[in-house]
Symmetry: C2
Subunit: 329 residues, 2 copies
């Protein structure tokens, strides 16, 4: 049987993660990598796989079954999503929640025009967390949702720290408040403010001679990012930051709590929890699993934009229906 | 818009749970209940809904969009599943894991003959736990699965206790070993024997004058049921059993632990956990959510047997694709 040929567009953390994930799936192979950098200067992990300029992607249409878009949601994917959806079956990890309907509409139009299947917003949130929220709300229609993130590195908040005057480098961890998680898990259905759900912990390398008290004050009062949270700021050296905080762990919890019974006397708690050693490596593992679903749907003649909600779990598995029923049901 | 008309076949704990769950879903209504008992002697919770003999079910073919089969897996469903699949769209909770392929094949043949959609093995295990296992194994192909059950009442083990000489009544709880769950959650990938995964706790009402030491011995050494476990036996009065152990709580954990990275240096842990106040009420809530999926698939002209693996999450929701993308993705 021929393997599913995967292309990667964008070779950052996510692109490298996809490259590694493809190796863990024997029914797939990496066909090529597209980059915005000079292809001759990019060396990738897999020997013998060509690197091309992203501008030449269209010329390699017949070498790829599914192109995985590994750019960022802010500026790359809004453009690349619709552009590539017309040329290839695609999977992206677009994660700007508020702009998902707009992104879906544009990708859907392009994918239908090209006769391709294009999945948007694949990953863990949006993605597996969304699936957990949907299953939970359908099974327990009278109930409440809670999503907690962390402990993990927030790229956006780390960037925000680094923009503060006097800051040389920094990392920010989002941490769920343990007592809040415990109250939800115990079925107490608490009302939780933003401050009651998450803590923010910052590790900051100050520039020489910088006013640390002022830096701390500037971070803690920053609107949207930190002002609504209990924030801790630790000043450390660049060596300590590089040594102790170079990982990109993440994770979180999705809860659905609900009631059933004649007088709603019965409580149920559903919890989906992730504890991830590497956010980009886990995200790219999900992208690759959904690439299999995209390939199959496309083989069936389907076209248009899809999300994780539209994909039956069986489409993710390399095993046959008989096998998954016998082994996993 | 017309409501989805649900029928119930079998009015025990599960049937009553379905009746209650239908009330929580405004796009559904209960059409009728079929029973093996004398219909004139069965009074159900919902006023105005007719109760018929299960032998007359075929006559009510046009009153029902989806029939939910609420019989047991040992003797009812192997017969009722294929029989009703030819007449109605159906959902069942067949949970004899080893016989699922056989049940699927028989129901599939009948459902295709009748032009119906019939879902088998819906519930939480098999069911939501199976979905968690499948997603986990597809996202982390190099990893391990762990399923723990409980704390919860096992009907089969409670029945086994009650068959012991000198036992008047009894209840058995399956309890996951906390340290084992914790080791898995911490990513230690432990090898666990049967004894290391679950404890069994029995509450027993002895007949007057019975030999309690002998009862305890007979329970603890019972092959398959108790011999491979650390089992605790508590003797209590019938009043205590009725007062403290009349509920049917259950739940459990599905873990997928796996590794990614260049040298598999990165660990990830995925956990799906249920804490259920009532096993039959939660199970029936799942059956009802999947009845919506069955109705939709049938409306699209699909026929044959399906499992939870075959159903895209969006089919479970009363909301439109636009709505779930905007609100839940």
């Amino acid at each position: 049987m021929s393997k599913i040929r995967i292309g990667i567009a964008g070779y950052g953390n996510l692109g490298r993660g996809v490259e590694l994930a493809v190796r863990q799936n024997p029914d797939m192979e990496l066909s090529c990598v597209f980059t915005r950098r000079d292809p001759s200067k990019l060396s990738i992990l897999t020997e013998g796989v060509p690197v091309y300029s992203i501008n030449d992607a269209a010329a390699h249409k017949d070498d790829i079954d599914v192109l995985i878009l590994c750019g960022g949601s802010a500026t790359d994917l809004p453009v690349q999503g619709p552009f590539f959806a017309e040329l290839f079956n695609t999977v992206d990890s677009f994660d700007t929640h508020a702009r998902i309907p707009e992104h879906f509409a544009k990708v859907d139009e392009a994918a239908k025009k090209g006769g391709n299947v294009s999945m948007i917003s694949v990953g863990w949130d949006p993605g597996m967390f969304s699936v957990a929220r949907l299953y939970g709300s359908c099974i327990l229609p009278e109930g409440r949702d809670y999503t907690f993130w962390g402990k993990g590195v927030s790229q956006g908040h780390s960037d925000a720290i680094r923009r503060v005057k006097g800051v040389k480098d920094g990392k920010q961890y989002t941490i769920p408040v343990e007592s809040a998680v415990e109250a939800v898990r115990n079925g107490e259905d608490p009302e939780l403010t933003t401050r009651q759900k998450h803590l923010r912990e910052c590790f900051v390398v100050a520039e020489e001679g910088a006013d640390k008290a002022q830096i701390e004050q500037d971070i803690k009062t920053m609107p949207n990012y930190f002002a609504d949270y209990d924030t801790t700021v630790h000043f450390i050296s660049q060596e300590e930051l590089d040594r102790d905080h170079s990982g990109i762990p993440h994770g979180g919890f999705v809860f659905r709590t609900g009631r059933t019974g004649v007088d709603k006397e019965t409580k149920h708690v559903v919890e989906y929890r992730l504890n991830l050693g590497s956010n980009p490596e886990f995200t790219s593992s999900i992208l690759v699993a959904y690439a299999r679903a995209v390939y199959r749907l496309s083989s069936e003649g389907v076209s248009g934009a899809k999300t994780v909600f539209d994909i039956a779990p069986a489409y993710l598995s390399p095993l046959s229906g008989d096998e998954i029923r016998a082994k996993m049901l």
